[in-house]
């Protein structure tokens, strides 16, 4: 019944999405730390851009 209102669906979506982003934040942090221990450096080039080529 509650999910018949578009606002409530948007709120549920927002909360699930932010939960996904938060979980990804902690998961990526752990992976990052493991890699750091192995290689002592991340090793990626940062000069590239997500915009265009």
């Amino acid at each position: 019944m509650m999910l018949k209102d578009q606002r409530n669906i948007t709120i549920v979506f927002l909360l699930f999405f932010l939960l996904f982003v938060t979980l990804d934040h902690f998961y990526s942090k752990n992976i990052h730390q493991l890699k750091k221990e192995k290689h002592k450096t991340i090793g990626h080039e940062l000069e590239s851009s997500p915009c265009g080529m």
Binding site: K4, D5, Q6, R7, I9, T10, I11, F13, L14, F17, L18, F20, V21, T22, D24, H25, S28, K29, I31, H32, K35, I42, H44, E45, L46, E47, S48, S49, P50, C51, G52, M53
Partner: protein
């Protein structure tokens, strides 16, 4: 302290609503939206940096402006193709013209305040032609472009949520196929600044944009014997219009151009939307056990970096998240976020198809109407113009297909 501040904001908004604002503010929605924004900003400033904090604020501004100005590329193109009303297109051309003025001189210097910056560049080739055509077709079926999908999702449009989900899926598939598309004939990246100086690049692009504006004026005058302005006076006060919406398109154009420049200053690249969709899709696929890191696209420099980092380290994702929150708060202030859902099965099918076409097309075309067209042209890259032409053509056919899905 946070709770106290929120109560103070609610009280203030109630007073403003009683005394100043005509539209009925959705206070619970506004409260939730502002809470999410504040918590997100605090999270970013404590766990990341001021740059991440600023990018979320820029995204918020984009969402707020897009929603209140109803600044959609899809509807504006459709309005011109069907009704010959060109105010929406002219406001987009105005926004691009303004962004060109700021972005091209900075790109020429290749740095801002000592930090490197890069424009939105793409190759002139079959990949862009096919991708932008598919994107144009998809945006008419899906009901929104890259930015349009995000701000309508934030604004409470449930159908657009379906479009977004399949936009993400289409982007993911696009990342799988893009390396093959790039093996097809291409002239490579062509930028106007290679052949002319800054002033010439600005003027030649202004002339081209002005020419398109004149075409819209010609057809509009022919049909209506007058033209619709991109700035209209309102009976309500400026503060009322600013907070509760129905902005003149002119305001939207200025806001988007300045926020695009702000993105360049903070992120080091102009405003972009769809890279993040591919990234979100790749993250979800990884959670489901698909090893996307083996796909060629995800071995390229920035995609590899983005995939291995938190989503919050991706500047495009940050502005997208801010955009959704900004649109949600704007819709709550306008009192338009609630509404019962009714979506026909054919309309759902159009949303699915449109989303997939847009996602796939955006990867092939190196972006959407924002990353490829708006920021591409503002960077002086010819692929932005090619994108504009073929996406408009795709839109024309998309509009022809809309009645088959029960869409107007």
């Amino acid at each position: 302290m946070l709770v106290f501040s929120m109560f103070a904001i609610i009280n203030l908004m109630s007073e403003i609503q009683k005394n100043l604002l005509k539209p009925k503010i959705d206070l619970p929605g506004f409260f939730i939206g502002v809470s999410v924004l504040i918590v997100s900003l605090l999270f970013l400033i404590t766990n990341y940096s001021i740059k991440h904090f600023l990018l979320l604020i820029i995204g918020f501004g984009l969402g707020f402006s897009l929603y209140h100005a109803a600044f959609g590329f899809t509807g504006a193109w459709r309005k011109f193709i069907i009704e010959k009303k060109g105010a929406g297109i002219r406001s987009q051309l105005f926004a691009i013209s303004l962004a060109i003025l700021f972005i091209i001189p900075f790109l020429n210097n290749k740095s801002i305040f000592g930090s490197d910056i890069v424009g939105a560049f793409g190759p002139i080739g079959i990949s862009i032609v096919v991708g932008s055509f598919l994107f144009g077709l998809g945006m008419q079926l899906g009901g929104g472009c890259g930015s349009g999908t995000l701000f309508t999702v934030g604004g409470g449009n449930t159908r657009m949520l379906i479009t977004l989900i399949f936009f993400i899926l289409g982007s993911l598939i696009g990342t799988l196929h893009l390396p093959w598309w790039l093996t097809l004939p291409s002239f490579g990246v062509i930028t106007l600044s290679t052949y002319m100086n800054v002033i010439q690049t600005i003027i030649i692009q202004w002339i081209m944009l002005g020419f398109i504006a004149l075409i819209t004026i010609y057809y509009e005058k022919k049909r209506y014997n007058k033209i619709h302005r991109i700035y209209d006076n309102h009976y309500r006060s400026i503060i009322n219009v600013f907070l509760c919406g129905n902005w003149p398109l002119f305001w939207g154009g200025i806001a988007l151009a300045l926020l695009n420049v702000a993105t360049l200053f903070v992120a080091g690249h102009p405003w972009s939307v769809t890279f993040a969709f591919g990234l979100w899709g790749a993250k979800i696929a990884t959670l489901l056990g698909v090893n996307v890191s083996l796909w060629e696209y995800w071995t390229w420099t920035y995609p590899t970096y983005a995939l291995n980092q938190s989503i919050l380290n991706d500047s495009v994702s940050l502005t997208n998240i801010g955009l959704i929150i900004g649109a949600f708060i704007a819709a709550s202030l306008a009192g338009k976020i609630s509404g019962k859902i009714y979506i026909s099965p054919r309309s759902i099918l159009a949303a699915i198809l449109g989303g997939i076409l847009m996602g796939y097309g955006a990867r092939l075309a190196f972006g959407c109407n924002i990353g490829a067209m708006f920021s591409g042209i503002a960077s002086g890259s010819l692929h932005g113009w090619l994108w504009f032409g073929f996406a408009f053509l795709g839109s024309y056919f998309g509009i022809k297909l809309r009645p088959s899905f029960g869409l107007n």
